[in-house]
């Protein structure tokens, strides 16, 4: 029996939970990754990203719940599940005493499928044949990352699982690799990637999951998420009294420095614009929203309204003022 690569979901996790010595590292996490999509998996260190990936690869056993890749349970039927995977092994895991080429050959032998995309990847990542003949111990961090990416994707797997894929790559190669991911995505491959580079995730991914302290706090299509972006609005009130901005819908933080104001607004910004239109305003700036802001929204400490966002904005505002 082979895995169902035509399944609607490349990855499914159902109430996936993992505890280590009584500490819950991953708590009841459920999400689905559509076949043929690019899915971003975000969270700070210790949030549960790596634990999730290890569960998907069958490196660790779930305490409860399950995960499946193309319909195959990743723990009980792990070998079949992993037939469809190309996983980005940490670059330092490769063997320093062996040449890059021999390690790619070794990886291809284990994949039991020809390295159809090796040449293409080497070109995209700007790794030369001469580089491949050198021992890995002489590679820079970026070169090791390029080799690891090639080893992960050279056999053209239906699903790529990439943990911090562009870590250590220079910006040009990073963009080349993003283009490569888009190309293979258009050819029907599924990409599951975790990254600290939110801008990169924003550029590439169609859907995003955010984990915090082992729990899934957001699971949305990128365009839906972007509609809930946090905007930063700064302005100076020339004269006259001002209303209590905190009462305006969508405003979730307010900071004032003399006549200058800094507001964070989530979602629809129109109610604030309406209020501001009745005031004498100078220097109105609405910052371009980013995924970074959304990310911060999910990471502000529980029990506070403003928390990290206000602190971050205050620092930014003070520096700007």
């Amino acid at each position: 029996m082979t895995e169902d690569r035509g399944a609607p979901h490349a990855i499914v996790t159902s109430a996936l939970t993992r505890q280590f010595n009584g500490v819950t590292a991953l708590d009841n996490v459920s999400f689905q990754v559509d076949t043929g999509s690019i899915f971003g998996f975000l969270g700070p260190n210790g949030a549960g990203k790596t634990t999730t990936i290890k569960l998907l690869l069958g490196f660790i056993k779930p305490s409860s719940g399950r995960s499946a890749i193309f319909g195959r349970d990743t723990w009980h039927d792990g070998v079949a599940a992993r037939k469809s995977i190309g996983f980005l092994v940490p670059a330092d895991s490769f063997y320093p005493e062996m040449s890059g080429r021999s390690q790619l050959d070794f990886a291809a032998s284990l994949s039991q499928s020809p390295a159809l995309r090796r040449r293409e990847l080497l070109d995209v990542l700007e790794l030369s044949d001469r580089d491949l003949d050198r021992k890995l111990g002489k590679y820079s961090k970026g070169m090791k990352q390029k080799l690891a990416l090639t080893a992960a994707a050279q056999h053209d797997p239906p699903l790529l699982i990439l943990d911090e894929p562009t870590d250590g790559l220079d910006p040009v190669v990073q963009r080349n690799f993003e283009d490569y991911l888009r190309d293979i995505h258009h050819q029907g491959r599924t990409i599951f990637m975790s990254s600290h580079d939110l801008a990169e995730v924003e550029r590439i991914c169609q859907a995003v999951a955010i984990v915090r302290e082992g729990k899934l706090v957001a699971l949305e299509q990128m365009n839906e998420l972007q509609q809930r972006r946090l905007r930063q609005v700064t302005f100076t009130v020339a004269e006259g009294s001002v209303p209590d901005f905190q009462l305006i819908g969508g405003v979730n933080s307010v900071w004032r420095d003399g006549d200058r104001w800094l507001l964070s607004v989530e979602g629809n910004i129109n109610p604030l614009i309406e209020v501001l239109s009745g005031l004498q305003i100078d220097d109105l700036t609405i910052s371009p929203p980013s995924l970074d802001d959304i990310f911060m929204t999910f990471y502000r400490p529980e029990g506070t309204d403003i928390g990290l966002i206000r602190d971050a904005r205050r620092r930014q505002y003070s520096a700007g003022g």
Binding site: K61, F94, S109
Partner: protein, 272 residues
């Protein structure tokens, strides 16, 4: 099976330098035994020297002066296979190989290269197990080979039946497979290579010390059967071509139980 072969060949490729160095050490150590004996002169002079050696030192070699006096060249040469340096070199080779392949790869993360693909943990483990069996066999053979070369070079007085060197090779292989089985079990459960090697060498030393002190102090005699070295008898192999059925059974069982337990542990454990 193809994957197991790929993993096995890769393991040997990346361990080649270390293995060659250790094997060369064992080969040379055994080579110098007959050369050293020849340099003393006839066996009576050698016996005279050994008579001066305190019994506690001879216990390290697991022999008595009386035995050596009656055993001739084969008896003296058997010391080369019961010497602590031989145990250290041979044991370290097998333990290093067993611990490098599992605990070492878990520590470095290299194990993920295989296990993130359609490769089962069982396949990875079997490749390591076959590797340990091969390394144990090669280490067991390289010692007698070195001794044969040493005999040809040194031409010591006395005679030895070459087929008994083959029997000694089997005795060494049994001991090393037992050590390798235990080493694999420890390696399968450890997450750091140093930790695995430390525990394995520690067990080997404890086993040796039990055997040593049991020879010196009668009070420790009851625990001697718990030492692997109680079932390893180079003088018997070299002078009589003998390995007891009990030795085969005990060392074979330790090797098998260690290897199978390692498989169970490795199949179920978390990979950090």
């Amino acid at each position: 099976m193809q994957v197991v072969a790929v993993l096995l060949i890769w393991q040997f490729r990346r361990s080649l330098t270390g293995l060659v160095a250790l094997l060369l050490g064992i080969f040379l150590f055994e080579l110098i035994q007959p050369v050293a004996i020849a340099s003393v002169g006839d066996l009576d002079r050698l016996q005279g020297i050994l008579d001066l050696v305190p019994p506690s030192f001879l216990a390290l070699l697991n022999v008595t002066p009386e035995f050596l006096g009656g055993a001739g060249l084969a008896g003296y040469l058997s010391l080369g296979f019961s010497h602590p340096v031989y145990h250290l070199l041979a044991g370290a080779t097998v333990i290093w190989f067993a611990c490098r392949g599992l605990a070492g790869e878990v520590e470095r993360g290299s194990i993920q290269i295989a296990l993130s693909r359609a490769v089962s943990r069982r396949s990875v483990y079997f490749s390591r197990l076959i590797g340990v069996v091969i390394v144990g066999a090669v280490v067991a053979v390289i010692g007698p080979l070195g001794m044969i070369v040493g005999i040809a070079i040194g031409e010591p007085a006395g005679s030895i039946r070459m087929e008994y060197l083959f029997i000694q090779g089997i005795a060494s292989a049994l001991l090393l497979w037992a050590i390798g089985g235990a080493g694999l079990l420890i390696s399968a459960s450890a997450s750091r290579m140093g930790q695995a090697i430390g525990w394995s060498i520690g067990l080997l030393v404890v086993s040796y010390v039990i055997d040593y002190f049991a020879d010196l102090w009668g009070a420790l005699e009851p625990i001697k059967p718990f030492s692997l070295f109680d079932y390893y008898d180079p003088p018997a192999a070299m002078t009589r071509g003998e390995i007891t059925g009990e030795s085969v059974l005990v060392m074979g069982t330790v090797a098998l139980v260690g290897a199978l337990s390692g498989l169970v542990v490795f199949s179920r454990r978390d990979l950090p």
